[in-house]
Symmetry: C2
Subunit: 118 residues, 2 copies
């Protein structure tokens, strides 16, 4: 997957636009930042991007993680930020289904279960 690399001088608005684009296309995005300034811009970009995709009903969340990267033969610890809709599951996109045994897989059509008990 494409990784959005964020620097301390990155413009959070621009990064947010790129982020929203990747999420709309691929369902999730990965950012990478090294150093406090870069992480700061990345987090701002996520806050802004939330506003870009919220009208589409997407509630973006992020998962931070440490990752070792080698730059010019020097090993550094970067922060990876995985940005995805709250209900995202790898494999399925968007809504995923009941883990129960009765629902063997993806194609289970839940339509018609609209419990109109009025």
């Amino acid at each position: 997957m494409e990784v959005l690399k964020v620097a301390a001088k990155s413009n959070p608005n621009s990064v947010a636009g790129a982020l929203a684009g990747v999420i709309r296309e691929q369902g999730m995005a990965e950012m990478q930042a090294i150093g406090a300034g870069a992480i700061n811009q990345a987090i701002k970009a996520i806050a802004i991007a939330r506003g870009f995709v919220a009208p589409s009903g997407i509630d973006l969340v992020c998962v931070p993680a440490f990752v070792d990267v080698t730059i010019d033969e020097i090993e550094k610890t970067a922060i990876k930020l995985i940005v995805s809709p709250r209900s995202y599951s790898r494999g399925g996109r968007g809504r995923n289904e009941l883990p129960g045994p009765r629902a063997p897989a993806k194609n289970q059509s839940t339509e018609g279960q609209s419990t109109k008990t009025d």
Copy 2:
């Protein structure tokens, strides 16, 4: 709700411990950080806290947002980080099992749905 204020000099491990404690007790936590250094530490703390609560089956995610705060009569823009289990829904607390978000989150309060389909 209690807000965990994070500074540039905060120790990410200590913040992570506090964060995990608040999440276990209250189901979610809110952090606040001003400036790149503080945000950096806060994000590291979340990455570490994920490891603390993962064995309990909790998949922590964070939602960054801007918030205006007034400190010594000077208005500043802080970053608020709402940290919660991925499937957290306000209203329900603590128990959030079934990693398959059956319905796209938030408004679905599963408690008190005591089968009123009479």
